[in-house]
Subunit: 235 residues, 2 copies
Amino acid sequence: MAAIRASQSPKINRKAATIPHASAGPTVDVRCVLFTVADGKLLVALDQREGTASLPRSLPVANEPLDATARRTIRESTGLQEQYLEQLYTLSFRDSDGWSVIVSYVGLIYAGPETDALARSIWFDTHSLPKLSGADEKVIEYALLRLRAKLGYTNIAFHLLPRAFTLTELQNAYESILGRRLDKRNFRRRAIASGILQSTNQQRREGSHRPAALYRFRAEHDPADYLTPAWADEA
Amino acid sequence: MAAIRASQSPKINRKAATIPHASAGPTVDVRCVLFTVADGKLLVALDQREGTASLPRSLPVANEPLDATARRTIRESTGLQEQYLEQLYTLSFRDSDGWSVIVSYVGLIYAGPETDALARSIWFDTHSLPKLSGADEKVIEYALLRLRAKLGYTNIAFHLLPRAFTLTELQNAYESILGRRLDKRNFRRRAIASGILQSTNQQRREGSHRPAALYRFRAEHDPADYLTPAWADEA
DNA sequence: GCAAAAGTGTTGTGTATACACCCATGG
DNA sequence: CCATGGGTGTATACACAACACTTTTGC
């Protein structure tokens, strides 16, 4: 607990602050970890320009809010519109391209058969990822950690499903992310109790077994985005 | 669920990506919300250069990790060494100085009588803050929200106390942050049960009443930093 | 002996977990 | 009629909230 008031010099700070642009500050680059679930696998979207794979990324254009950059990145790189987006973490990184500040986002999306067909090549199983840069690897790893943790106290997994879904599909999404099986009765009880399920009166019949009831997600009761500040990103 | 594959043009993206430096990207600036507790009040540290108050801030110097920038900012602005530091949120902001990306951090510290004396002027009660920029106001508001939420599932408030403390002091810290009174017996039971209290065998006698047992915080059992990625910030 | 803060247990209520069988359908 | 996944209830353990009095000290 020794005194710390040593290097009190705000020289660099002040100087740079007066000429904010064109200084040797870091480049800001936005990267998105976009997840989807298919066949009981948790998949992540990667770009594969020039052989090596990498997270979808881009630089913010002038005065573009970071959230908008993230959404644009996802659109440009996958052609899809994410259903949920949350800022993950910001880190600085030094590599061959110079000095970057990476603002990372996590997105969730349902990639059904249609979209799957046109964009299949970009999806990679999180359990067998291709070679990635160190930064991308860490960002993905952390995104997974946070996504799993968040399943415990939010209903975020709804965003991985189509508008109408069965409880079994919902449970499969949870199990894919968590990597373990859940008890059917307990899962259904909690899902119903959470109050964010709206029971449509439709059913889905497929295969030689009892048809499943279809539900919708009541977005207005979703407490999932409480981690994102209300103002989010304005300019 | 209409098809979204509209603006597939990664023009801007690609172009900017090839000349990352010297472009008109945003300035990156790190701001710290440093909290302390005194007299049952939750206080935040503000700089008051040139009349208007603002959060302590600075620009990262070349290749400096963001966490290091945050720690340096706190040292330079308060002369103190924070006891806990966590990244809060990153937002972009447009103001008179141009286009900035603000990486915000929350720090916790114990500001005892000694430190209080030399730095008293910088501390402001969170319930009566001076006029601040819109960005700073929002960052503080969000920091408070997150700090309160975090008290529910972590033991983060220990970082607001001196090395040895009484359970009553700990409870006061919680109450100052939450803004409501807690039940003494329940509070103590949970604090003990959490396993991060190490009972020193010392007591503190002050005033005409029974002396209080002193405890220490077992940092190695602190699950508080699980929100921060293991790699945190390397370059 | 009294004022002032420290310290201490029990009970009810709600929430999470473990666990096994019948139902509706297609072929 | 059988294979397949859909759907249902109960008992137990644990976590949390409400609640009041005794203890030790300084003066």
